[in-house]
């Protein structure tokens, strides 16, 4: 049951990537970008707490492959973040057995993103180029809440379908700006159950193998539409060409992710990235 959406997703990604490779008819249409920056998250997940967690991800990485054809653009992005977050100053409590003082650890949120988008040029002006298209945005989040004596695991995964708009504005021959807007219309959503550790959850992880458990968790999700899951992304990037092959870029990105069931989750993420692109 759960393999079907994953197989479909893999097939689509591979086929689209193959199409992207075949479009090329001149040099330097492809670019590979590596970016790192300040990533901050504000989250409130009522499955675990009414409080708001805030924190940054020092370990983070963004990789992107882009192919620009005359009238279209393909983009494949992979991202990783490890957010260290807290809802309050750490406090000390006494261990039940030893009466030893222990400090509440920060909670950790791991996110992995794998996104693909295809955009078609809809306006080609002197300075302004507009693209419209769609993408699939796949985000897997693993949450490790540290509640003093207890550590609680939770997960949320969205394989979403996103309409998308991009506007490229040429500042001069070597600099341009890009504005991007995307929103999720729905998708396959998997999330921790209401009481976190139900029988299905326990069964899903009883192999104690990370990949199998992940596939089981995702497989237990279901299709949700925009009334139950909302995701909005705004990104503003500045590009400066430093050589025919290399471009520096700075990006500000803002993501909003809201889920209503089994209890509401709100996630706000802020990214300020510096990156370098290599064209080939």
């Amino acid at each position: 049951m759960f393999h079907k959406p994953l197989l479909l997703l893999a097939w689509w990604l591979l086929s689209e990537f193959a199409i992207a490779q075949n479009f090329g008819d001149s040099d330097y249409k492809n670019s590979l970008t590596f970016a790192y920056g300040w990533h901050h998250q504000v989250s409130q997940d009522l499955l675990f707490s009414p409080r708001t967690y805030r924190g940054s991800a020092l370990p983070n990485l963004q990789l992107q492959f882009q192919r620009d054809n005359e009238n279209s653009r393909h983009r494949l992005q992979i991202g990783f973040n490890s957010f260290t977050t807290r809802s309050q100053e750490a406090f000390e409590y006494l261990d039940w057995r030893t009466l030893e003082k222990k400090k509440v650890l920060p909670s950790n949120f791991l996110t992995i993103d794998l996104n693909y988008s295809y955009l078609k040029k809809i306006k080609d002006g002197d300075k302004l180029r507009l693209f419209a298209g769609a993408g699939i945005e796949n985000q897997i989040m693993a949450n490790f809440y540290e509640f003093g004596y207890s550590s609680i695991f939770g997960y949320t995964a969205l394989l979403g379908f996103n309409p998308m708009l991009q506007a490229d504005y040429q500042l001069d021959s070597r600099q341009n700006l890009r504005l991007e807007l995307a929103t999720t219309l729905g998708g396959w959503l998997a999330r921790s159950p209401y009481a976190l550790n139900d029988d299905e959850y326990i069964e899903n992880q009883q192999s104690h193998r990370t990949l199998k458990t992940l596939i089981n968790f995702i497989g237990d999700g279901n299709f949700q539409t925009v009334n139950r899951v909302q995701k909005v992304r705004f990104a503003l990037s500045y590009f400066r060409e430093i050589s025919p092959r290399f471009t520096l870029q700075g990006t500000y990105r803002w993501d909003l992710f809201k889920v209503t069931r089994p209890r509401p989750l709100t996630l706000l993420q802020y990214f300020v990235d510096l990156g370098i692109s290599y064209r080939f």
Binding site: V42, Q44, L46, F48, S49, P50, R51, T52, S87, Q88, F91, E92, Y93, L94, D95, W96, L99, Y145, F147, G148, Y149, S150, I152, Y169, L171, L177, P193, Y194, A195, L196, N197, D198, D199, E200, I202, E203, Q205, Q206, H208, F234, L236, Y252, W254, L256, K258, P262, P264, T266, L268, Y270
Partner: protein, 337 residues
């Protein structure tokens, strides 16, 4: 260019400042609000009011007058712990700044008979200091007792259980097995079931469970039956030692072992907290733990609040233990004769 820059900057500032627009309002942190939240969380998630014969709303009404918006943290802590103690549940607890982790269960709360299990006695007197042990996530203690009886103690349930079959293979001429689950604080019972299955020849149901899945009193998932698979054939005697601090997944491991015909339970009743649990954070940043599952044995009975009864009831005494005698272990050894 300047205009573009200003537009971009204003968008960035606006987005960065609009957290509150998307988040639920910050919860009130006064004592009354926290007290009410505890009541609501248990009402919405706790699965065992019926098994434990507790009228939660009546308890709330009883304690509620003792708390108001101006109550101190100390007053709130005292009232909450008194209220939670009524559940007498090993999975129910409270963690608050500067205080010992609170357990609602009487045995844990009062540390009743907690000192009646001493691994040091087992190591010195019975294993003659010939043992293997490990710390951390892989906790175990094992060795060979006289007459080639394997002794193994698991203080929790996790990947440490993989040692069980390794140890049996290590001593191929063993005459039997003592699995000591006294003071087993639980963990993930599926590790235990996977290892016990290697000893068991016939697939058998162990328990069925259902979990809260909504705020209504009767909102539960469907029943799920957990089985012990038959993947082996260890026919020698197995003695399983239990006490009042054998809890949670430790108790589920006992239930898994109990379905085997060659297993005998020796010691005291287990804790009687066989559910699974979850934790939640309160508006003031304290943490509660609560039980979210109903669990029934194959006969349709619950051990919740009762404990799993041993086949042979034996309890250590502190006086004997201080003289180096573990009566529970000695009785288990005796049963091999």
């Amino acid at each position: 260019m300047k205009k573009l820059f200003l537009i971009a900057l204003s968008i960035i500032i606006s987005l960065s400042a609009c957290n509150k627009m998307f988040l639920e309002p910050s919860p009130s942190q006064n004592a009354k609000a926290v007290f009410d939240q505890v009541y609501q969380d248990f009402r919405d998630y706790y699965a065992l009011f019926e098994e434990r014969n507790v009228n939660w709303t009546a308890i709330y009404n009883e304690f509620s007058p003792q708390i108001n918006t101006n109550s101190s943290d100390e007053q709130l802590y005292q009232v909450l712990t008194q209220m939670l103690a009524r559940l007498d549940d090993g999975h129910v607890g409270l963690t608050a700044p500067g205080r010992e982790v609170f357990y609602a269960n009487r045995f844990y709360r009062e540390k009743l008979d907690y000192e009646l299990f001493k691994p040091s006695v087992i190591k010195e007197k019975y294993l003659k200091n010939q043992f293997m042990e490990s710390d951390g996530d892989e906790d175990y203690l094992y060795g060979l007792l006289p007459n080639n009886i394997i002794y193994i103690h698991f203080p929790n349930v996790g990947s440490n259980w993989q040692k069980l079959n390794e140890v049996i293979k290590q001593y191929p001429n063993n005459q039997g097995l003592i699995i000591d689950l006294r003071h087993n604080e639980g963990g993930d019972f599926t590790y235990a079931f996977a290892e016990i299955a290697q000893l068991n020849s016939q697939t058998k149901p162990v328990f069925r469970s259902r979990t809260k899945n909504g705020q209504g009193a009767n909102d539960f998932t469907d029943w799920h039956t957990w089985q012990l698979e038959g993947k082996g054939n260890y026919t020698k005697k197995i003695k399983v030692l239990t006490d009042r601090f054998t809890i949670s997944a430790g108790e589920r491991a006992v239930m898994g072992l109990k379905v085997m015909n060659n297993v005998q339970l020796i010691g005291d009743l287990t804790n009687g907290s066989v559910s699974t649990m979850m934790s939640r954070e309160l508006p003031n940043g304290w943490y509660i733990r609560l039980a979210t599952q109903e669990v029934l044995n194959p006969e349709g009975n619950t051990y919740e609040g009762i404990g799993i009864p041993p086949h042979i009831s034996v309890k250590n005494t502190l006086a004997e233990l201080n003289q180096g005698k573990d009566a529970v272990l000695e009785r288990a050894i005796q049963e091999f004769n």
